[in-house]
């Protein structure tokens, strides 16, 4: 028998093992590598006129890659066992099922947010070093530092919606589709607010709130799922 802390740790380790064996662990390298390198190449060859625009471009690339990884890994962490009926092995074990899911999601969310953070830091450093703002360059739509902080909120939103969908549908594939649709809605809403000049901190905070509620729902419902 294990306590909640031990269950969290055991299942976090189990998730790392699964990521390693499935090779999905490599996905976490994409935002820190492809984000800064891709945006640096764009900075140099597209001759981005301002440092702010270069940073926004780089953060969007890094955040977008992070979002895809968040969707994929969350859908699988919550929904794969339910799809395969592998939960019939894990559920009768003497452990708290909320902690079971919490341990696995902690690795996926922590890994994705960490990967984004490293990638964003790379973009920030490279963008600052490679691009100089040209005189007369158009001012970016919003400060890059705001986007830097807003993108983790988007990742949390997507992860939360995907986790909730995985518990409801009991299928990783359907959860992934739900997460993608949620991402499209979020992008559409963000575009609307930008063009209406109404984009404020409320939007990302709201997204993060929805994501936390989604994860909370998943953690609450998961232990109640019947075989």
């Amino acid at each position: 028998m294990s306590g909640v802390g031990a269950t969290l740790a055991i299942n976090a380790r189990w998730e790392v093992t699964r990521l390693r064996r499935s090779q999905r662990l490599w996905l976490l390298l994409i935002p820190p590598v492809a984000g800064p390198v891709g945006s640096a190449i764009a900075d140099l060859y597209l001759k981005i006129p301002s440092q702010g625009t270069a940073l926004i471009l780089g953060l969007l690339v890094t955040g977008g890659l992070g979002a895809l990884i968040m969707l994929d890994l969350t859908a699988l962490a919550v929904g794969e066992d339910l799809t395969l009926r592998a939960h019939l092995t894990a559920f009768p074990l003497p452990q708290d099922r909320t902690a079971l899911l919490g341990g696995r999601v902690a690795v996926v969310w922590g890994g994705t947010l960490g990967a984004y953070a490293i990638g964003a830091a790379g973009v920030w450093v490279l963008g600052g070093a490679l691009v100089t703002t040209q005189p007369g360059a158009v001012t970016p739509l919003f400060p890059p530092s705001h986007l830097l902080l807003a993108l983790p909120a988007l990742l949390i939103f997507l992860g939360g919606v995907t986790a909730a969908a995985a518990v409801i549908t009991r299928a990783a594939a359907q959860a992934l589709v739900a997460g993608i649709l949620a991402g499209v809605l979020a992008a559409g809403a963000a575009s609307y607010f930008v063009f209406e000049h109404q984009l404020s901190a409320v939007f990302p905070v709201g997204l993060a709130g929805i994501g936390i509620v989604g994860l909370g729902f998943a953690l609450y419902r998961y232990p109640q799922l019947e075989a």
Binding site: M1, S2, T7, I10, R13, W14, T17, R18, R21, S22, E80, D81, L84, R85, A86, H87, L88, T89, A90, F91, P92, L93, P94, Q95, D96, R97, E226, A227
Partner: protein, 315 residues
Amino acid sequence: MASEVLSLEHLSKRYGSREALRDVSFHLAAGESVGYLGPNGAGKTTTLRMIAGLTVPSGGTVRIHGKDPSRERADALARVGVLVETPGLVPYVLGEDLLDYIAAVKGVPSRHRATAIREAARQLGVEEHLARPVGSLSTGLARRLLLAGALIGDPEILLLDEPTLGLDPAARQDLRKVLSDLRRAGRTILLSTHLLEDVQELCDRVLFLRDGQLVGDEPVERVRTDPRGAPLRGLHLRFIDDIVGERLRSLLGEAGTVELDGPREATVYFPGDERRQAELLAAIIGAGLPLASASPPEPELGRRYLAKVGREDAT
């Protein structure tokens, strides 16, 4: 009397308008090995799911060492090994990964974990397959791996649902030996199965389930005996024409019994050896009874299964 480790009281389960289980009550004492028999859809798996905390009962209670597995899951299932239904396997993890995870959750200390995994895998004959991704294992090997997972951590109670499903005859025999050893070591076993021979060989007691209701709770008698405990020999007789039971009884004498299985079939039990059997057959033919064939009787448990739940699924 041994202490009670598992207790079901008035357990019921309803799926919509369908009642899968109705008012089922039974108890298992420590060290008891109990067979749970019934046809498909009788409610065996539903019962085991509720004991394993996989399904919440619609009514009644389950207690494992006094704990409710649907509410106090970790405490109730701490010393229980479970194999219910046919769990899926995550194809890319290795067998040793899966067993290591199960051992860790069951609280096997890390310094003993490798030994516990090897021992469980050795018992089930999957030791050399531990380094393979589970998706590459055959159905039988995967089943044995899951059984090894159920045995890890030296569980006091084993809940096994069709454990020999998908196993070849040799593996089935190996598993019977493992379970037989565990039974002798004092483990409590609840074995849900279609295979009467598993119950006959491994269980002290048998529960019969039909249409979600418990219709029998009896000891497993391995050999039929006379009132003094001496073993009886049995013969299943088939005749060409209808027979009268009294004529058979008179041929057998007071020590024998006759059970009519139909107008032209009967099973007789009598004390004695092969010579006595030959004398009896000669007497039957000599008395002019139209004997068509004589064969060993259907196993006792099979006869009782058919009497309790009907012909469906008995193998």
